[in-house]
Every structure is written in C-alpha cells, then in structure tokens.
C-alpha cells in the first residue's frame, strides 16, 4: 500500500523516546488548579464559590457563548480559591483551586448515556458539549461546535492520528491502548455530522497503532485507515485533508468543511466516546513528558489541573541542566519560563531540553537558498515575507500572503542562516491583522 502525503514539509529529527511506553495513570494531586479558560472561545464563569464542596466530574464553570466549553472538577473536594493563576497560554487566567479529599466521589450526572443507536445527532452534540470536550490536537476548539452538521452535507470525517511532532506520543499510545473506544467515538462523531465515511490518518512510523485501529474497525467499511508518509507537518489540518483526499486543497481563508470534510484529533474521538459510554466529562488528559532534560520520559494520564512539578516527580524529576521547557511539541509548542503551570485540556506534552540543546544561534543574512520555499506546506515565500517583516513592511508581507502561513515552523527549521523566519512572519501577521481591524 502506498503512503499518502502533501507537498512540502520537512523531517525534523524523529525522536519519540516514549513511543513504546504505555500510558501510566499519574498520582492524583492533593490540589488541582483548574483554569476557567482551557479552549478557544469565551472563558467560563465560575459556577462554584470558595468553600463549596465539589464532586469529581461536576461542572464548575460554563459560558452562554456559542463558542465555549464548560470545565469540570477533576477531583472531589473543596474549592479553596478562585483567582487569576499562571496559564500555559501565556497570560494569567481565572482558575478554580480545589483541595482534593481523596475520595474521588463522582458527581450525580456522571453515568453512561443511551446506546449509540438510540441517540440522535443532536443528543450526541449536547453530550459532547456538556462533557466539555475540546480539540485535543492542540487547538482546543470546542468539539460540539465542529460536530454541527453542515447544510451542504459532509463527505467525510478525518481523524488525525498523524502525530507528526517529534517527542509527542500520546495519540500514538491512545490508538494502541484504546482503539475500540476510539472507533466508538468516531462512529458517534459520524452520526452527529451525518456522514457515512471516516478516514483515520496515521503516519507509517506507528505500525502498532495502524494494526490496532484496523483490528478495532473490523469489517466496517465506513471507517478506513489511511497510511501517511512520515513528514512534518502531516498532522496540520489542511495538510492532512490534502494527503487523505488525494490532493484536495482547502481554499485559502476557509475551513475544511468548505470542501466537505471535517477534521478532528483521534484523542478527541476518544473523549467523545467516553462522554457517551461512561458519561465522564473531560477531566483527564494524556500527556507526554520527554526531552533530554527529563530523567525518565513517559506518557501519563493526569487529572486536569495537576501542577507540572507534581507530574515531573513521576517522570523522575528534571536534570540539573534542564534549561528550556516547551509546552507541546518542539516545532509548534510554546516555551515556558516557569514550571508553575497546571496541565489543561489539549496539553499534549511537556518537554525539557538541557543547556547544550538550547542554542541561541547567530542570525545571518538570508542567502536565498530557497529551502524555506521547498518546505513551506502553504507554498509561500517565507524568506521574502520574513525579510519584509524584518524591515517593518507588513504591506509587502501581506502581498506575499503572510496571512496564509500556518505557523508550522518548517521554514525556521531548515534555514541555514538560522533566521527566525516564522517569528518574523508572526510579527507581520499580527501587524496585518491589526491594520485590518482598523
């Protein structure tokens, strides 16, 4: 069978030290810090106040906004504080701090829903919404919004099991360890979306995931595994659509639904499945802890709101020369100054690198080697946009379609002059967006 892919892209060193390590359930912390904003969209308003007793799975924050997702308590215990708290997204966010009573008493509403056959699409969307499911590929877009069927109909749902970022291995592990539940979730999503086809794209460096998922699918011809070439950014939504749908491109400025496909992460399908099968809201997150700065890399299932230092203890702690912390993968993740952060929904990994890997390179002039053009999956001229941005000329950057950049970072990765190409493009994009708002 041939592997499918998109045009462009690059091959970052494919270190996946935790790929063979089963997901370990992390120790439940004595205290959780649950931010009220763990998704794209409106932050939640707290539904509890300091001193309240809460149960595990109880909704503690919600919003009336269309694009938002409720948050739930990941432990049972007492609310001790509601205050702004450091957030992996960068700026502090209101968070509910809960002291764990250690009993893990479930909230009343947490019980298995009806059989999939008996549920309507609307009910599936409502269950997904109430469970606070968001896109677990990293974007954290509220999933129930994406499950609303489009009027034009949908050709296919594509589940993203590419996991093309180095180091990250949770999607891989979830596919290997819970393929049946994932396929169940996929079927629920198909029903909500009113589509008869589902493709699951998996890079061929995960043969165990491919065979586990194929086995779970069994004879069902409506769900199909698509083997993908190992190439970054294969897991980017639009690039995945192009690979799976044989070259189909999502028009610029549009979402994939414009060409009749919806994309979601494999872990998201699992969360939807769990919300129906067991009734549990999204209160646990599978996360990879890896990198040269960590003593023991691994995959962990952690309660949302667990503070990073507590998780790190279970990964054998940090090495003394750990010098950089990355939230997510090394290509697109954000560097964090401090480990004093809670694990939230869609946190796919935390990586630590030692001093010798944290090199701030000298920036040389662009030698116009064209490597960034070769790798750009959006077919842009990253060098030209970056140089325009460097010269503070965002109009020129806009002329070269800076807004179509998907920020995968392939350009910066390949640049022999070690230019922060993407960083300059981001600056141009922000400037263009600011001008457009005027």
């Amino acid at each position: 069978m041939t592997t499918k892919t998109f045009k462009g892209g690059t091959h970052p060193p494919h270190d996946k030290p935790a790929a063979g390590k089963a997901i370990v359930t992390a120790k439940v912390p004595a205290k959780v810090v649950i931010p009220l904003s763990q998704h794209i969209g409106a932050p939640c308003e707290p539904l509890v106040k300091v001193g309240d007793e809460v149960k595990m799975g109880q909704k503690i924050g919600s919003s009336d906004s269309f694009i938002s997702a409720p948050v739930h308590s990941s432990v049972s215990g007492t609310v001790v504080e509601i205050a702004p708290h450091p957030h992996p997204g960068g700026s502090p966010s209101m968070a509910v701090v809960i002291e764990n009573d250690g009993k893990d008493t479930w909230a009343d509403g947490v019980k298995p829903k009806k059989n999939l056959d008996e549920l309507t699409g609307e009910e599936i969307i409502e269950i997904t919404k109430e469970a606070g499911v968001v896109g677990l590929g990293g974007a954290a877009f509220p999933t129930h919004v994406k499950l609303i069927p489009s009027e034009e109909g949908l050709d296919a749902l594509i589940l993203n099991g590419a996991e093309c970022e180095p180091y990250l291995t949770v999607d891989h592990r979830l596919m290997v360890e819970r393929p049946g539940d994932m396929i169940f979730g996929a079927k629920a999503m198909m029903k909500a979306l009113k589509t008869n086809k589902c493709f699951i794209g998996i890079e061929v460096n995960k043969p165990d995931a491919i065979s586990a998922i194929r086995e779970a699918i069994g004879g069902d011809s409506s769900i199909e595994v698509v083997e993908l070439e190992v190439k970054y950014p294969q897991g980017s939504g639009k690039q995945l659509v192009t690979a799976v749908m044989d070259g189909l491109e999502v028009p610029t400025g549009e979402r994939s639904t414009a060409v009749g496909v919806q994309v979601a992460n494999t872990a998201t399908a699992l969360a939807v499945g769990d919300a129906i099968k067991t009734g549990t809201p999204l209160i646990k997150q599978a996360i990879t802890v890896a990198g040269s700065g960590v003593n023991e890399s691994g995959n962990f299932l952690v309660r949302i709101g667990t503070m990073v230092p507590e998780l790190l203890e279970q990964a054998g702690g940090l090495k003394d020369d750990a010098a950089k912390m990355i939230w997510g993968g090394p290509m697109m993740g954000g560097a964090q100054a401090s480990i004093d952060l809670p694990i939230i929904k869609a946190s796919s990994g935390i990586l630590f690198f030692t001093e010798d890997e944290v090199v701030i390179d000298e920036i040389l002039a662009c030698i116009k080697c064209g490597r960034c053009l070769d790798v750009c999956p959006a077919y842009l001229m990253p060098n030209t946009i970056a140089s325009a941005s460097e010269a503070d000329n965002s109009d020129l950057a806009a002329k070269y379609n800076a807004e179509d950049c998907i920020e995968c970072g392939s350009c910066s990765f390949v640049c022999p002059s070690k230019r922060p190409v993407l960083q300059w493009i981001r600056l141009a994009k922000a400037d263009i967006a600011a001008k457009n708002r005027k």
């Binding site: 192009t242 010098a323 040389l364 002039a365 030698i367 842009l380 910066s412 990765f413 993407l422």
Partner: protein, 311 residues
Amino acid sequence: MENLAVEKKFVVSSSPHVKSPETVQKIMTDVLIALVPAVVAAAVFFREQAIIPIVICLIAAMATEFVLVRKGGFFSDGSAAVTGVLLALTLPPGVSWWICVIGSVTAIFLGKYVFGGLGNNIFNPALVGRAVLLASWGTRMTEWYSPIDLQSTATPLAEPGAASMLDLFTGSVAGSLGETSAIALLIGAAYLLYKKHINWRIPGGYIISAFILGALISPAGFQFELADGLFHVLAGGLLLGALFMATDMVTSPVTPKGQLIFGVGCGILTVLIRVYGNFPEGVTFAILIMNAVTPLIDDATKPRIYGGVKS
C-alpha cells in the same frame, strides 16, 4: 530533585525549538568540495600556472573578507573561499599575481561588501571581479596557452572547429583554468545536486537553451547545426557558469519557475553575446545581467499558494 523546590526560570524563545544541522558554512564547504575536481583538472593540465593563481586568489579573497568583516575567523562562513576559487577558475593560466589580487579584492569588496555582505549582494562576486579584470586588462585576460605544450594559442571559442569534442569534454584545450574540463565540472555539480544545494532548473535551463539557440544561429545567419549547439555548451566557460556561477543561491531566483527562466535567460544571452557581441565569451555578462533582474523574476513568479486559485 532539589531544583523543583527553587523556582527555576527557563530560556524562552519562539518556536520551532529544533533546528536542522544545515549552516551557511556547511553549504559553502560543500561548494568548495564540489570545486575540487575542477581545481585538480586545472592543476593537471596547467600545472604551476594553475596552482599559483588559484592559491593567490583563495588567500587574497579570504584575507579581504577577514580584513573587512573581522568575524568568525579566517575561513568565516566560507563564502570568500568559494569566491576566490571561482574567480581563479575563470582566469587564464599563468596570469600575473597582481591580477589575481586585484580581482579577488574587487570581487569581495565591490561584489559583496558594499552591498552589505553575503546575502545582500546583487551580483555574483566572482563574476564582478572577473568583469572588472576583463574591462581593465582585456589582453592579459585572454592570453591562452595550450595545455599540451604550454604554448600560446587561441581558445576554441575564437577558432571554432580547432578542438575536438572529446578534448572539450576532458578539458585538454586552451581556456581559463577551470572551464576547460567538462567532466570535472560535471562531477562537482553532481555532488551539489546530491547534497541538494542546487537543483536542475538553472543549469538545465542554461545548457538546454544555449544548446538550442547555439544550434540555430551563427555569425553567418540562421542554420541548424546540432554540433554547433554542443560546441557552445562544451566550449568556453559555459559549464563553469551554468553549474557553479548561475547557481549561486544569493544572486539567483528562489522560485522554481524563476530559476528556470533565469537559466534560460543566461543561456540565450550567452549565445547572443558569443555570436553577435564583441567578446568571444558571453558567460560573465549573461549571468551578471540575469543577476540584475533576479528580484523582478522572483516577484513575477510567486508560486500559487496552498488553497489559492489553480494556475
């Protein structure tokens, strides 16, 4: 574990956090490696008359860069060494030492430094050096020796038909140091292709267009002589230009279509200058002219963006 207790602050920078091992210095080193066959061929055919100018150019170019930039050591990013060797390969055997020095200093200073250093230069530095030498000491720049007996002779371009195609291919003909042996240049270019520092578009466009136009026109008028086309490709500095000068990253287009247009433009201009121009050779000025229009070519050949209208 103690470090968890104290608040540790980490380095923060923009993503991506991993970088490919490729550097400018590594690319330039590869170009130098690719030039080794041509240098060896020159040394075999012209002996000390080749070795001395190459060494002088190499040292003069690197020294000029070192004095001007004073950064990164004598080899620095390696681009000055490339410029020095390339310039030397365009010079006639046994050329005076001071021509080598003036050419190298000019190449680095006027060709590169005044524009703001590597990456900002518009013209191929080695060709700027050569153009200045051609304009200043035209006679000395065109004194050729036969590699057989090291006696003064004309280049095959001035006397078409005097050299056999086989001699042109192996390099046993009169000419500049590095341009005589097609096979040595092709071996070097194959290495650059393998390392993906160059692609087929510029050399391919250059060679094929020169071959076709060379077969079609001659000073006597229109014709159809495939042998003349082949002669244009193998004689003079066309292969050195097409494989090592026109492919200079800094001064050639970055877009795939642009690279093809650039190569074809170089090929057409080279043959036009050779057939109708004052000089027997046209490679230098053909490439310099195309260097000048490179920004326009890049702008006009912007690739179709993902999800944009199919062209």
